[in-house]
């Protein structure tokens, strides 16, 4: 115990030191951030100043007092010295300038932005001291709605410190043991081993000392276990992430087509044409299966003197192509069924939650299957195909065995899936190989890798995990839709359906939600539930147009005659039913409202039924809207707008200028939720012809059913 005594002291001082170090580091970090922010601001100011200096401005010339109103008072300055004259200047009253209304900051946005539910309350809303005191009950209720409040010190912050702390004891412990060599000779060898191994658990004594210092943290054993636990997760992280190496990099490996394209396939949003888009957290994988046949074309003309077509007999070529076709069709069928998610590291809650049954099974299967392949491929620098390759090639082509790098091999497989046996094109795209070499490689691939190719379609383990709760929620919602009754006025969010091998019937999610199948659905082109588009030759602004009748905007990929697919660059489109998707909004201006707070004003006159703006904001779930709405009601200001049964648009944090339009029971605008290329979007349209400079109003109670939801807003207007 004599040993524990100084150790305790040491523990204490070490603890203090670490704490201080942490604090210091944090302060440094903040300082650095502050400095960088200052620099940013300075840069901006410089830009602004430059702009101002470019403007030709003259200061206001003071009008001379002579000739103007004689009733002006003079302001005199008299100096005591006789030699100095009096100085007088006319008093000039300034007009009062009214202050501007209050505004919370927000980010501009021209398209909806989906955000996840916030299960943690980010901050306790401040509504003035009076409210805070009065409404403690409200705040308590509010906090109850959430899983917790952001900033509650979790374990995460402490773990790092703890590990550091324990490790920090090593040197001291070591020293003290040297000092007390005789007494603790038994302890020494173990410690020595520890230090040399550098991976083992520190000596118990350290934990004992810590436990005695911080009794509330648990016993020595508990601490030890905890330490072990904390060290544990760090080890898997050390492994290189299961990630396909950069195709253009030096470490490019020869992998299967699926792996090469996996990132692109899974992250690409077919609806937004973007990777990892802001609106659709759930991206379907490409359905290669139904690719148009005309794309598969064979090259029959040799591309040059060295073309493989001149060397290879045509019959052979065709048989090979046949084999390829079969194989790829098989493979693609498999892959098409498997939408997979990428994992995003910083998300804290990535692991838990139920996954939809279909995906789950698939995932497990693929995971277990691939465990072996991935480890063998991942750990050995030379993947199996590469290993096999040199011998084979050496045997075939004695004179100049062309070296196929990993990247080239991968690229071949990728392109082969697209170009099939069009080896000339493949060779051109690869760039470093002739078509003959490509052909020869292809022959080998088919012979050698026939078997591995089959399970190559199965994805590695990494791809399976859902990266967010958000997508799970959507699936849950779409499931819940089936359970609730479909009354006619309910509008549900569209989700592309994906049920291979059987047509869109009553089990199809689109049919169930009473949505049309869109071009994003995986179902057949000829699906009965597909919306056919219009064949209008007019403006599509009457109910004659099937799109207009169905409260849809014309789809530029379906409606080919109305002009929705023409004139991409101009704002003059003959079709008047595609304004939202094209962003043909009006120039809006912001000024203090004549009614309450801020108001939205229009710059140019508009005609009746013209789109004024889309009401943009964060796309949140109905549950989240309920939670947020409770706070907004307290603030007496709400930017919530019901989109459909699943989602609400909240323009509080992100939005566009139309968010400032006030409510009126006699408005000049109306809101309409329109299906725009598979997304519900809120358009604000002119209810009548509007003059320039008019303030815009629309009826917040856009449907009777929602009237209750916006009581808060009505209340606000009443007060003002």
């Amino acid at each position: 115990m004599q040993f524990i005594g100084p150790l305790c002291k040491r523990v204490k001082s070490e603890y203090m030191r670490l704490r201080q170090l942490k604090r210091f580091r944090k302060a440094e970090e903040i300082k650095a951030l502050f400095q960088s922010n200052r620099r940013k601001i300075e840069g901006r100011t410089e830009l602004l100043n430059e702009e101002w200096s470019k403007l030709r401005i003259q200061s206001i010339p003071l009008s001379t007092t002579s000739g103007s109103l004689p009733s002006k008072k003079l302001c005199m300055v008299e100096s005591g010295f006789p030699s100095f004259p009096y100085q007088a200047v006319a008093m000039r009253p300034l007009t009062t300038v009214a202050g501007i209304p209050f505004m919370y900051s927000w980010s501009p946005l021209q398209q909806n932005f989906m955000v996840e539910d916030e299960t943690f309350l980010h901050n306790i809303p401040y509504m003035g001291d009076e409210v805070l005191e009065q409404d403690e009950a409200f705040l308590e209720e509010l906090i109850d709605n959430y899983d917790g409040v952001h900033g509650d010190r979790g374990e995460a912050g402490q773990t790092c410190l703890f590990i550091q702390f324990v490790l920090g004891q090593y040197p001291f412990c070591f020293k003290s043991q040297i000092q007390d060599n005789a007494d603790f000779s038994l302890a020494f060898p173990s410690l020595g081993r520890e230090l040399s191994a550098n991976k083992k658990i520190p000596h118990d004594k350290i934990f004992t000392a810590i436990a005695s210092m911080f009794p509330y943290k648990g016993t020595m054993e508990e601490l030890k276990d905890k330490y072990k636990d904390l060290l544990e997760p760090s080890s898997p992280v050390k492994l290189p992430p299961l990630c396909t190496p950069n195709m253009d990099g030096p470490l490019a490996k020869s992998v299967q087509r699926e792996q090469s394209l996996h990132s692109f396939h899974t992250l690409f949003c077919r609806r937004c044409f973007k990777y990892d888009c802001f609106l659709h957290p759930f991206h379907a994988s490409p359905n290669v299966y139904k690719r148009k046949n005309k794309e598969i074309r064979m090259e029959t003309e040799p591309c040059g003197l060295d073309c493989f077509l001149l060397q290879v007999q045509l019959s052979e070529y065709i048989t090979i192509s046949y084999v390829f076709l079969l194989k790829f069709a098989d493979q693609n069928m498999q892959s098409s069924q498997r939408p997979r998610r990428r994992r995003r590291q910083p998300r804290p809650s990535s692991s838990c939650g139920p996954t939809p049954s279909g995906f789950c099974e698939e995932g497990k299967e693929g995971g277990s299957d691939h465990e072996t392949t991935s480890s063998s491929e991942g750990n050995s620098q030379c993947p199996s195909p590469a290993k096999l390759r040199p011998g084979e090639e050496g045997a075939e082509e004695s004179e100049s065995p062309p070296q196929w790098s990993g990247a080239e091999e991968s690229l071949f497989r990728v392109l082969h899936g697209t170009y099939y046996n069009n080896f000339c094109s493949i060779a051109r795209l690869i760039g470093t190989k002739t078509c003959r070499e490509v052909y020869e490689f292809a022959v080998k691939e088919v012979l050698i890798h026939h078997v591995p190719l089959e399970d190559g379609g199965i994805s590695p383990q990494k791809k399976k995990r859902k990266h967010s709760l958000c997508s799970e929620r959507i699936v849950l919602i779409s499931l819940s839709i089936c359970l609730t009754d479909n009354s006619s006025n309910q509008v549900y969010n569209y989700q592309p359906c994906d049920h291979p091998e059987h047509p869109c019937d009553s089990s199809c999610s689109c049919v169930m939600t009473q949505n049309f199948c869109e071009k994003f659905c995986q179902c057949d082109q000829e699906c009965q539930n597909r919306f056919p588009g219009c064949r209008c030759k007019t403006q599509c602004n009457t109910k004659q147009c099937p799109c207009y009748l169905a409260v849809r905007e014309c789809d530029p990929d379906l409606c080919m005659t109305c002009g929705a697919a023409d004139h991409w660059d101009s704002k003059q489109v003959s079709c008047k039913n595609c304004s939202i998707q094209r962003g043909l909004k009006k120039h809006l201006l912001l000024a203090p409202s004549d009614v309450a707070g801020w108001g939205t004003f229009i710059k140019e006159p508009v005609q009746k039924n013209e789109l004024i703006s889309e009401y943009c904001g964060e796309l949140i779930s109905q549950d989240e809207a309920d939670r947020r709405g409770r706070i907004y009601d307290k603030y007496m200001s709400s930017f919530l707008f019901n989109l459909n049964n699943d989602f609400v648009v909240d323009a509080t944090r992100k939005g566009n200028k139309i968010r400032f339009a006030n409510h009126s029971v006699n408005p000049n605008c109306y809101a309409k939720v329109v299906m725009v290329n598979g997304d519900h979007r809120i358009g604000i349209f002119a209810k009548r012809a509007i003059q320039r400079g008019e303030e815009l109003f629309f009826d917040y109670r856009y449907s009777q059913a929602d009237a209750l939801k916006y009581v808060g807003i009505e209340r606000e207007i009443d007060i003002v």
Binding site: L55, P241, N246, G249, F273, R291, K463, G583, N656
Partner: protein, 696 residues
């Protein structure tokens, strides 16, 4: 009593009328508006005396006092404001009352000629006037119709007798001839043209038009005489007033006239002992034989004759009254002045169409600085119109119209009644001359009050109450108020301003003037009042910074970009967050996302084009970052989604290849180095990524 048109004096004579406007006790007399530094401030006559006169009759003084306090509380401040505004409007008018529709009778011009107006008329007019000037010399007779002689005496005039109500005016034509060799000075010939009795301080409303005396200078007088070449002609007026007393030593050296202020000279000479003689001289033709007197109404400031005539050289421009300096126009309110109408005419009998003189602005402004109790003897300008026949149709039948003002205060529970005999606005002393105009003027110009018209057997009753709704808010163009510093007054070249639309209705529908519109309004009538200013009549703000939008920024919608900076940053960050996406893929994805966000693609059919544009715009970046194969993967992936066809992949990649070859050709060795360095850098980057994940 000498009744004048200016009802105030008449009213104060005939009845103990109190001040129409509330005034603090003891502040009476001179200067209703204490803060006003204006010398010409006037209208004091109305305020001036007897504020408390209504209360004098009341028996209970204390109650009266309290009542009066309430009255003052309600009406004092707006009244002061309107008094101030009136003064300001006199000095620097923003508009002329006569140009208002409901004051059209104050306007002497007619628009009838405009119908036939052509641009050439201007030329004709000028040419004609030139010819006229020459022809005047010989052709026309000079006809002078004397309206009256005005002179304010110390004694009230009502005491004077009848025969004193006229003075005799003698007019002489003075011809100054060219010197002949033998002459020492210019020979001067005085040709008497006649002598007439002219009414003294007449009230034009009571005098008939034809009754005015007329003197004619025949045209042959202006023809060159045989013996002497006449250098200049001038008229000399000699007014002798019988029974004259020694008047104040008013010496006026001022050549003030309405239009021809500098063409008149005066000097004085004493003639008779028994009577006072005033003289004045006006030039008809100057040395260059230019005509100086055009048709019009003239008022000549007369000069009392003195022992020694003041020579031309000693003449100055001051006006002195009792040793005090007077503003130039003060002479006209004090007199003595002679008023006449001058015409050049061929027909001696024609006298009905004398041109109408324009009133002097200062005519209203008598005596506030001098002595408010002094009754005005100057005809108000409006009276001039009465003389002319053209105006007579507009004038209301002259009857004793009494206007009762009933002031309602203390929540309309108390009232105080004042009566006036004229149609002057009690606040700005404007003579509206018609009840309709008066009511309209009150309603429009004094909106701090509410005026309601109630018909009354003796005339009219106007209920005056405080307008509680008056908030002083500005109803003009707000851009004028919010004129943004540094821009509104920029004189450094053209500056953009916010476009504001004013509706100017060309021939607005006007209901016939009817007094019924001033009756107490029914509910709902207020709604019809709409602002006629539309457009951007407000100051706009930037939605991100809440800073005022400058006019030159109006046309740019700063917040309408499809890819705001924060969103661009966000998408880059979001992609960087992935741990299982390699660096090359990330770079391509970021580039592509920014590309799509910038162009806002919406249709599948756009994708082929989008890919080509992508390669075109970002080709160099792709090659620099060594991303060609990743781009190919991206394109193949797009193909898998059915968005691009193979032909486009080929084309896009061919373009990239060409670009790369170009670059390689340009700097072969360098590119080689870069490729090595770049690839090793790639490796480092991925390693660092590993490290990063470890830290997580």
């Amino acid at each position: 009593a000498v009744p004048t048109l200016q009802g105030q004096s008449g009213a104060s004579d005939s009845q103990p009328v109190s001040a129409m406007a509330p005034q603090k006790h003891g502040s009476g007399g001179n200067g209703f508006y204490a803060n006003s530094t204006s010398k010409v401030a006037n209208g004091g006559a109305h305020v001036s005396s007897g504020v408390v006169m209504t209360s004098v009759k009341r028996p209970k003084m204390e109650q009266v006092q309290a009542d009066h306090e309430l009255f003052l509380q309600a009406f004092e401040k707006p009244t002061q404001i309107y008094r101030f505004l009136r003064t300001r409007n006199l000095i620097a008018p923003i508009f002329l009352h006569r140009s208002l529709t409901y004051m059209s009778h104050r306007n002497s011009r007619t628009n009838s000629k405009r119908k036939y107006f052509g641009v050439n008329d201007l030329l004709f007019k000028v040419e004609k006037s030139k010819v006229d000037q020459d022809s005047h010399n010989m052709a026309s007779n000079l006809q002078l119709t004397f309206t009256g002689f005005f002179h304010k005496t110390e004694k009230p005039l009502q005491n004077s007798e009848n025969e004193e109500n006229s003075v005799s005016v003698e007019m002489l034509l003075v011809k100054v001839c060219h010197k002949k060799r033998k002459d020492v000075s210019c020979p001067v010939k005085q040709v008497p043209t006649g002598k007439k009795q002219v009414p003294l301080n007449p009230d034009s409303s009571q005098t008939k038009l034809g009754a005015f005396p007329t003197l004619i200078v025949p045209s042959h007088e202006f023809e060159p005489s045989n013996s002497h070449m006449v250098k200049s002609y001038s008229l000399l007026f000699r007014v002798s007033r019988p029974g004259g007393r020694e008047l104040n030593g008013m010496t006026t050296r001022d050549n003030v006239m309405e239009e021809l202020s500098n063409r008149k000279k005066r000097y004085c000479s004493n003639q008779d002992d028994g009577e006072t003689t005033f003289v004045a001289q006006m030039t008809v033709f100057d040395k260059n034989r230019r005509l100086q007197l055009l048709d019009g109404e003239y008022e000549v400031s007369m000069q009392e004759m003195e022992e020694s005539p003041v020579g031309k050289k000693r003449a100055t421009w001051e006006t002195i009254l009792d040793g005090k300096w007077l503003p130039p126009f003060e002479t006209f309110s004090q007199g003595p002045t002679l008023q006449f109408t001058l015409r050049w005419t061929n027909d001696t009998a024609d006298r009905g169409t004398a041109p109408v003189a324009k009133p002097l602005a200062t005519r209203n402004s008598e005596s506030s600085t001098v002595d408010s109790s002094k009754p005005s003897n100057v005809k108000p300008p409006q009276a001039v119109g009465k003389i002319t026949s053209t105006e007579q149709t507009h004038v209301e039948p002259r009857q004793k119209l009494r206007v009762y003002y009933q002031f309602l205060y203390n929540n309309n529970t108390q009232q105080q009644t004042e009566a006036r005999d004229d149609l002057h606005c009690p606040w700005c002393t404007l003579n509206c001359r018609k009840l309709y105009s008066l009511l309209k003027h009150l309603k429009l110009s004094h909106s701090r009050f509410i005026f309601n018209y109630v018909p009354h057997p003796k005339g009219a009753r106007i209920d005056v109450s405080i307008n509680e709704c008056y908030d002083g808010s500005y109803v003009g163009n707000p851009q004028d108020i919010h004129c943004q510093p540094g821009f509104a007054f920029s004189r450094n070249g053209p500056v953009k301003r916010t476009p504001v639309t004013h509706f100017l209705v060309c021939r607005p529908k006007r209901s016939k003037p009817s007094l019924s519109e001033f009756l107490e309004p029914e509910d709902g009538e207020q709604e019809q009042q709409r602002t006629y200013i539309s457009g951007h009549n407000r100051l706009y703000f930037h939605s991100d910074s809440c800073m005022p939008l400058r006019p030159q920024e109006m046309d740019v919608d700063s917040e309408d970009e499809r890819d705001p900076a924060w969103l661009r940053e966000k998408t880059v960050m979001q992609i960087d967050e992935f741990t299982d996406v390699n660096e090359g893929e990330k770079e391509v994805m970021k580039l592509w996302n920014l590309h799509v966000m910038k162009h806002g693609y919406i249709a599948d059919t756009q994708m082929n084009q989008a890919c080509m544009l992508f390669v075109e715009q970002h080709g160099t970046t792709i090659i620099e970052k060594n991303l060609c194969r990743n781009v190919l993967l991206h394109l193949v992936s797009m193909h898998d989604f059915g968005l691009v066809n193979t032909g486009n992949i080929d084309k896009a990649m061919a373009q990239l290849r060409d670009l790369k070859q170009q670059k390689d050709g340009q700097e072969q060795s360098k590119t080689q180095d870069n490729a090595d360095g770049g690839s090793s850098g790639d490796g480092e980057a991925s390693v660092s990524n590993f490290v990063k994940t470890k830290n997580h």
